[in-house]
């Protein structure tokens, strides 16, 4: 089984774009769709195995080598802190991480928010961002609907990803500081990258043609 390549794909908005791109270079498998009940979808002829996982788990599968490669957003890589190789910027899934605050209670400077509460799904990225600016914050980890934090009085601000900004506007929040941009990346395990170098490297070259 060692000559197979195992690919971890995240459920959600990156899934369709990822399978579409892979299909262009012939990396696909019968029955590969997000609603698949099978956990591992194999293409024996092409020696490929696809696994579909929760978004935040992709870097974990790849770090341990359970998957050789994977596709995942840069935001998730940064938050995971996992040691994975980043081979290619796929360009899609574009979003950015930012800090947002309620419009009507906006303070003048970033420093004015020191020691306040910040609700986020990305505590690691948030902590790094504020720590680099010498700011101590109270981090409140939430798993969804981050915008609710300031509305309900749970926090003074949020750190979250934004694509269009519609959700922010609808909840009377305003982007206060841009933290970093993120797009989908092709990642690889350090050992797989070496032991399966020829296949992985030619995949990268093939994919580059379509970007």
């Amino acid at each position: 089984m060692n000559d197979f390549i195992t690919i971890a794909l995240p459920k959600g908005k990156l899934f369709g774009l990822s399978t579409e791109l892979f299909a262009k270079v012939g990396w696909t498998a019968e029955g590969l769709h997000e609603k698949s009940r099978k956990l591992v979808i194999t293409n024996d002829a092409a020696k490929l195995k696809f696994i579909i996982t929760k978004t935040a788990d992709v870097p974990t599968y790849v770090e341990y080598g359970a998957a050789d490669i994977g596709i995942i957003g840069k935001d998730v890589i940064l938050e995971s802190g996992k040691d994975v190789y980043e081979l290619l910027d796929l360009g899609f899934g574009k979003c950015h991480l930012m800090m947002a605050v309620p419009k009507d209670k906006k303070r003048a400077r970033l420093e004015d928010y020191a020691h306040t509460r910040v609700a986020t799904k990305f505590p690691r990225i948030a902590e790094k961002f504020f720590a680099e600016r010498g700011m101590q914050m109270e981090y409140i980890k939430l798993n969804g609907s981050i915008e609710l934090g300031p509305i309900i009085g749970l926090s003074e601000s949020i750190v979250d990803i934004v694509e269009t900004g519609t959700t922010l506007r609808e909840n009377n929040l305003e982007e206060f500081v841009h933290i970093c941009d993120a797009t989908a990346r092709l990642i690889a395990n350090r050992v797989s990258y070496r032991l399966k170098f020829d296949r992985i490297n030619s995949l990268v070259s093939e994919l580059e043609k379509f970007l």
Partner: protein, 390 residues
């Protein structure tokens, strides 16, 4: 009393079977190192914090620290290269060079979630001090390859790199030190996306930019050295490639060349390594089993310039790789369970001594038993044979 049965975060027990497998590998490695003329040293588990961080102060958050009675900060050793360097510069400074030393010990690194190991993990390795030629590096590679072989691994690969290749390429383009360390950090993490962004931001000509971007992709057999040669027309990089070719030629004579691949994207911890570097990998294990390289500047930090090279093998990771390759390292030979009917204690002791002298592993029952009970004990304890004195 919650907690008294737990062990601290990052530690583990080795039960008899696990301990036997670990011991079996460590003994084979110790024998191999001795055969190559490497003498074992043991250093304290704790050192002064300043000693361990002499070359890299950034290590400090990952060390386990405590205070002595004078309130000086102590730390548990996180690897053995630094303590051995201290030893070489102080107590062994008058020994004839080259100095060839080996060790087997646990080391401690505080980090969340280290794949394949705990915060306390075991390393066997060697350090070769006092010689800067390719022969010394080839001996190190040969030892590492043989070490993995005698651990029982059939399928593994040693990837060789040379940090001076990337250094030469950056100097050739007159990159300022801060950009150099950004590039090296991206290469070390294999963040190819990040590397491309850094390089694109530097107004370099097209060829130079593309050469820098290619570094992490320079992986393959001996032929990759020629590909690399064409990318770097500077003396330092060329010398680095010559050095790798020379190491490879000697590794061939050592009979380990079939296990070697080249990867110029391996630079490991670049604060530390100055020449050849390597990592060893096995299929189905997502992290390196062993690593090492040349570190010619480190002893200078202790006050004595002396070239050095060496490596460490990760015992737990090798055990995992063996398990995944279906190789058993369980060395426990449970030969004989010796039991007896009442009144035969003296005869049993004498019989046990006799069998042990003949090299058998014998467990002697400490109470007299019926033969049925003795047979049950033998099965439960997993001994091959029962000897029962009626």
């Amino acid at each position: 009393m919650a907690g008294i049965l737990e062990t601290p975060y990052g530690t583990r027990d080795f039960l008899p079977q696990e301990a036997a497998a670990k011991r079996a590998i460590e003994m084979r490695l110790a024998k191999l190192f001795a055969e190559f003329g490497y003498e074992e040293v043991v250093t304290p588990t704790m050192e002064f914090l300043e000693t361990l961080t002499v070359s890299d102060r950034a290590l400090e958050p990952n060390l386990f620290k405590m205070f002595d009675l004078q309130n000086r900060t102590l730390a548990l050793h996180h690897e053995m290269t630094t303590p051995i360097a201290r030893l070489a510069v102080s107590r062994l400074k008058d020994s004839p060079l080259p100095l060839k030393l080996s060790y087997n010990t646990s080391v401690f690194r505080f980090r969340q979630n280290q794949p394949g190991r705990q915060c306390e993990f075991y390393q066997s390795g060697v350090e070769l001090l006092g010689v800067s030629n390719a022969f010394a590096d080839a001996e190190i590679i040969a030892l590492a390859a043989n070490g993995l072989k005698i651990s029982g691994l059939k399928d593994f690969m040693i990837c060789l790199g040379q940090v001076e290749f990337a250094n030469g390429l950056m100097e050739q383009n007159n990159l300022p030190p801060d950009v150099q360390s950004k590039i090296k950090s991206a290469i070390e993490r294999h963040d190819i996306v990040g590397l491309e962004k850094i390089v694109d931001a530097l107004s370099l000509d097209k060829t130079a930019a593309s050469s820098l971007k290619k570094i992490p992709k320079l992986h393959g057999g001996i032929e990759i050295l020629e590909t690399a040669r064409a990318l770097a027309e500077n003396e330092k990089s060329q010398r680095a490639l010559d050095n790798l070719a020379e190491i490879y030629a000697l590794a061939k004579t050592y009979g380990v060349a079939d296990k070697i691949a080249f990867d110029l994207g391996i630079i490991r911890d670049f604060e530390y390594y100055t020449g050849m570097v390597f990592e060893a990998y096995a299929p189905n294990v997502g992290y390196s089993l062993a690593g090492g390289g040349r570190y010619d500047h480190m002893l200078k930090d202790f006050g004595l310039a002396c070239p050095a090279t060496g490596f460490a093998l990760g015992i737990e990771r090798i055990l995992t790789a063996c398990e995944r390759q279906g190789i058993s390292n369980d060395a426990r030979a449970k030969d004989i369970y010796l039991s007896y009917a009442e009144g035969n204690v003296d005869a049993a002791i004498k019989k046990a001594l006799e069998l042990r002298t003949a090299g058998k592993i014998v467990e002697l029952a400490l109470f007299s038993q019926t033969k049925d009970a003795a047979e049950k004990s033998r099965t439960a304890k997993g001994y091959a044979e029962l000897i029962y004195l009626e």
